[in-house]
Symmetry: C2
Subunit: 251 residues, 2 copies
Amino acid sequence: MTEPPLYDREEFYNAYLTLPRSQKGLDGAPEWPTLRSMVGSVTGQDILDLGCGLGWFARWAVESGATGIDASDISVKMIERAEELTPAEMKPKISFAIKDLNDIGLQEGVYNLAFSSLTLHYLSTESLRRLLGLIFASLKPGGRFVFSIEHPIYTAPSKPSPEKLHDGREVWPLDSYAKDGLRETNWLGGVKKHHRTMTTYLKELMGAGFVLSDFDEWMPSEEYTKKEPMWKFERDRPMFLLMKVVKPIVH
Amino acid sequence: MTEPPLYDREEFYNAYLTLPRSQKGLDGAPEWPTLRSMVGSVTGQDILDLGCGLGWFARWAVESGATGIDASDISVKMIERAEELTPAEMKPKISFAIKDLNDIGLQEGVYNLAFSSLTLHYLSTESLRRLLGLIFASLKPGGRFVFSIEHPIYTAPSKPSPEKLHDGREVWPLDSYAKDGLRETNWLGGVKKHHRTMTTYLKELMGAGFVLSDFDEWMPSEEYTKKEPMWKFERDRPMFLLMKVVKPIVH
């Protein structure tokens, strides 16, 4: 790899640290209540966190009674900061590691829950397929995989910025939805990610053996946008997609 | 109901009859090959067809070895024409009936396959919920429900027509995605339909007890649009959504 991972680039990392979700943790992420309800109880459970960032979910899981959590991220800076943010008494239950999801290996049949927040859209579909196979194998029967990604509607456009039309409508300029592949955006100074249709995501998940169990296109409620008018456009198109899929118990 | 069903209105019905899918049947519907692969073998099976239109699927099913098919539509004109198009020797195996899906009743545990093509978006979510419960109960364990609908991306916009932007991009002007409810469009002179998010569709299906088994956002291939440039825009946003869901065999 010639350039460092995105979240290790000085400018990007510093911009990322200013986001509400970096400063306030899970409570700074508007989709967290929905994701938490998909996660359910973690008491006495063994957990895998892929793309753990600053470790907010890992610490929440331990506070919520998890037995242990294996958390990893490709970014050295993120893992270093995650370690710093973690109180000493939690450390025996959390393993933070620097791992690239493109070549990670996972132990088989050991986790009750796999979790990944806003990470999988950085992987190519080939890498995603390999990873889903590993996650499926790493779960105990009946185990679940809960994750969030940028919604395909959000990642699709050739120019992903709202547009004002001649008649005053503000719209999301959807195009090239069918074309799976790389997209470049100017978020926090420039990010590359992989657009995939909903079809690709669901076919890959089902292909790995998972059964869909919950699904949410996170958008703010109408009431919320009345209090926070800045969020109004977020009801015009979904930004995040949240899913819970399950490894079936074979009879 | 003060006005006749959409497909019974003279102008709409006459316009509908000019469409390739009315003239050529299933071969005039570009999504049919995908839908057919979701349907799978129908040999020796009992089938339900909700919103059967001119009966093309019913006749295909009988030709393909189905034991029998109960096909219904709200439109008197469509059912009359379906009867006319059906050869006498097929009639013992097909029951065509005029039924409103808002108050239909279904026999329990009798079908191997339920099918519905481009119909469910005419129902409110309340009616859809009731109907999905009935369909689930009408299937034998292991039975499947295969259907197509207008894609939520297609039904969402306040003005569902492509727009040309200042820089030459032709885009689908997505807005109001979060807002489930009625939309009016000018297709064939004017149609009302119900927009629902993907979340609503999947939650209703899972809520009824179904397990997702196949999923496709039908769009033409890149090769196809090279031969038929008129279809190019159909890769910018999906028009149809096709799903196969299964009634699990309880152990």
